[in-house]
């Protein structure tokens, strides 16, 4: 744990630290409206946003209070970055909810001399942070002059001076700055100061710009909802594979999976009232030269040698089940600097799992069709990758497979997919930086190539982990909801899910895309309930 690697726990001692204090605006009102629901969401946010973000920024959670928390950092820069990431992540979560259910933090950051106990911190430095937090707008961040002096030339943000303020029970006046994550908003804030004061919502929606879409198409309010009406198969389904699997309860299982899945969400994010303003992404660890705590570095496995680890061994759970490759856990640098959607580059831990050696084939898919648990959309030969799938279709197949085998099959998380596709490499492609012949099935990537269809599975070289078809072919649905950047993404290898997610993530690019989409880090996205002929899936399961 990076936070614990700093040694400030031995006895009560004084030290200089950046203190971050946060609490939830309108907590009692939220609790009054819906006590249990609020608590559940609060805990989830703590687990999924606050704790991972603190860890990413080398912060230590000192304590949690009913509606807030107190954290300390060695670096004021990291503390402010952390505050911004938390606010942006929370704003993104809120966009899908009505305003009266928004959970919004107020955050104050101060740099001061504090007394550190094993389970608490004391001193005026802490009190000032708490007062700043009290003064902050919901969704806003206030910092003291001391923090500002340390970060003003390092963190590209807007800082709006609020003047010197005499804080309650604090002897000297404290200079206060408001942090505006988008430098361009400085002028706006100054010109329309009342907007900030009168409506925290405006600030929140602007912050939400990063968490929500910049490039993402937003549906119109009048956009119709997708019904899962079945489409006719274009041709007769391929001959059934030899062994239909044991699927007594499967159709019910598959059906219920589908029924419980959210369709297109009824409430579009509030888009009309505020413009998503571009926000300078603030990578938590800036660039390759940035520091990484030793404890984390040690967790990186040596460059993958499949022969030495269990990675690479293949197995099948049942006859007719997709062939899986065992992947040993480890950590890796996920993402790249090539496209804004792939930033920030970050260290991600992945537990051991198994993933399909190939994308799911037409033959495998048609077993699910035969069990009446999947839509009859597959075309092509038995060993073609199944395609023309929506995310809901892919999810349905995973649900059916899990139900009929009793094994927890699922879609891979985006992190698992990239980890398996990279197979220990950090280059653009698993074989190196440049496209090479007979490696990928994409446009302009060389023969064999058919403009109308992907190659049969396993036609090209597998990667060192034994996975084939990770570059081009069919683009593969993963479990994660689409977010336009990795800002606030989990680092434990889990899927970044959202309720009523409108668009999900596809990885690997398709045969119809060019070489840049076949890179290991390349991400794309598509409407959750919409089928497209170049979209397929790869199955995974935990070990």
């Amino acid at each position: 744990m990076p936070g614990e690697s700093t040694s400030h726990v031995a006895g009560s001692q004084r030290r200089l630290a950046a203190i971050l204090a946060a609490d939830i605006a309108g907590y009692s009102r939220l609790m009054g409206n819906d006590e249990e629901g609020t608590l559940v969401r609060l805990k989830r946010h703590r687990r999924e946003i606050v704790e991972p973000t603190l860890q990413e920024h080398y912060g230590r959670l000192v304590k949690t209070t009913g509606d807030g928390f107190l954290a300390m950092f060695d670096s004021p820069l990291e503390a402010v970055r952390c505050a911004i990431v938390i606010q942006q992540s929370m704003a993104a979560r809120n966009t899908s909810l009505p305003p009266d259910q928004w959970i919004r933090y107020r955050i104050g950051v101060n740099l001061g001399d504090v007394i550190v106990d094993p389970d608490d911190v004391y001193g005026e430095g802490v009190n000032i942070a708490a007062r700043l937090e009290n003064l902050a707008d919901p969704g806003g961040v206030l910092i003291s002059g001391g923090v500002y002096e340390q970060i003003k030339n390092k963190l590209v943000c807007g800082y709006q001076s609020m003047g010197d303020e005499k804080l309650k029970n604090i002897t000297d006046p404290v200079r206060i700055y408001r942090v505006l994550p988008d430098p361009a908003s400085v002028a706006r804030a100054a010109r329309h100061h009342w907007i900030w004061v009168s409506s925290g919502a405006a600030a929140l929606l602007i912050l939400g710009g990063v968490g929500w879409s910049i490039m993402k198409p937003e549906p119109s309010v009048g956009g119709r909802q997708v019904s899962m009406a079945e489409r006719p198969a274009a041709g007769p389904p391929g001959a059934m594979p030899a062994e239909p699997s044991q699927t007594d309860s499967s159709s019910a299982g598959g059906g219920s999976t589908a029924a419980s899945l959210p369709g297109m969400p009824p409430t579009p994010p509030a888009s009309g009232s505020a413009l998503p303003i571009p926000i300078q992404p603030i990578p938590p660890s800036a660039g390759p030269g940035s520091k990484t705590p030793p404890s984390v570095v040690a967790a990186i496995p040596p460059p993958a040698k499949p022969g030495e680890t269990s990675s690479g061994s293949t197995f099948r759970d049942c006859q007719g089940c997709p062939e899986l490759v065992r992947i040993a856990g480890g950590s890796f640098r996920m993402g790249s600097d090539e496209d804004s959607s792939e930033k920030p580059l970050r260290l991600v831990q992945v537990a051991a799992f198994a993933i399909g050696r190939y994308p799911v084939t037409v033959a495998e898919w048609n077993q699910c069709v035969a069990a009446k648990a999947c839509a009859d959309v597959a075309r092509g030969d038995n060993d073609d990758p199944v395609r023309n799938l929506s995310w809901l279709d892919a999810q349905q197949y995973a649900g059916w497979l899990a139900q009929s085998t009793g094994i927890p099959y699922r879609l891979p998380s985006e992190a698992e997919w990239e980890y398996a596709a990279r197979a220990g490499s950090s280059s653009r492609y698993w074989w190196g930086e440049k496209m090479a012949p007979k490696m990928a099935n994409c446009k302009g990537c060389g023969d064999p190539y058919d403009t109308h269809a992907p190659l049969k599975v396993g036609s090209l070289s597998p990667n060192p982990f034994g996975l084939a078809d990770v570059s081009g072919g069919v683009a593969q649905w993963v479990a994660d909801c689409w977010h336009p950047t990795y800002q606030g993404a989990p680092t434990d290898g889990s899927a970044w899910a959202e309720p009523n997610c409108r668009e999900h993530v596809l990885r690997g690019g398709s045969w119809r895309n060019d070489a840049s989409y076949a890179r290991s880090a390349s991400r794309s996205h598509y409407d959750t309930g919409v089928r497209y002929p170049a979209h397929g899936l790869r199955i995974a399961r935990s070990l």
């Binding site: 804030a189 937003e218 998503p276 794309s524």
Partner: protein, 161 residues
């Protein structure tokens, strides 16, 4: 259901007529009424814009539906950004950073493009994301995105790298 059947029959008839090999995607294009018009309501051709902006899609004499719906004379929007190549009438419209799909039946979106000249064009796609016959495309709109305005305001400071 009737619509489905109708479509399949039409598809079959055209296929048989052309003696095309029954490949994976060798399906007929959906017919569009001759008076159908696809157009971009906003932004206007030649417009200069700063920051993110909405794009509104207009369609006359046809209906907008979600992808996968084979009801005759309905389709869904695809927005092409800076696309120079011709559209292949027989293939589903590509999906990538320059070809945005609105398969849920959306009629507007919001874009954020880098400063400079850009072109926008709509193409209506059928249930399978293929262009109609005759192909329904909007006029290509050229816009100029202006660099973000930098203004120093009193009482504020901005840190620079």
């Amino acid at each position: 259901m009737q619509a489905l059947l109708q479509r399949r029959i039409t598809a079959f008839a055209i296929l048989a007529g052309c003696l095309l090999p029954v490949g994976n995607s060798a399906q007929a294009q959906s017919p569009a009424p001759s008076d159908a018009v696809l157009y971009i309501i906003y932004p206007h051709d030649g417009q200069r814009i700063r920051g993110s902006f909405p794009v509104r899609f207009g369609l006359r004499n046809m209906g907008v539906t979600h992808a996968g719906d084979t009801t005759p004379n309905t389709g869904h929007h695809h927005l092409l950004i800076d696309v120079q190549e011709d559209i292949d009438p027989g293939e589903p419209l590509p999906t990538d950073r320059q070809h945005l799909h609105f398969g849920a039946g959306q009629t507007e979106t919001r874009l954020e493009l880098p400063p400079g000249r850009h072109t926008l064009q709509l193409v209506l796609g059928d249930a399978e994301h293929k262009p109609f016959k005759p192909m329904l495309t909007s006029k290509k709109v050229t816009i100029t995105i202006l660099p973000p305005r930098i203004r120093k305001a009193p009482q504020t400071s901005r840190a620079e790298r």
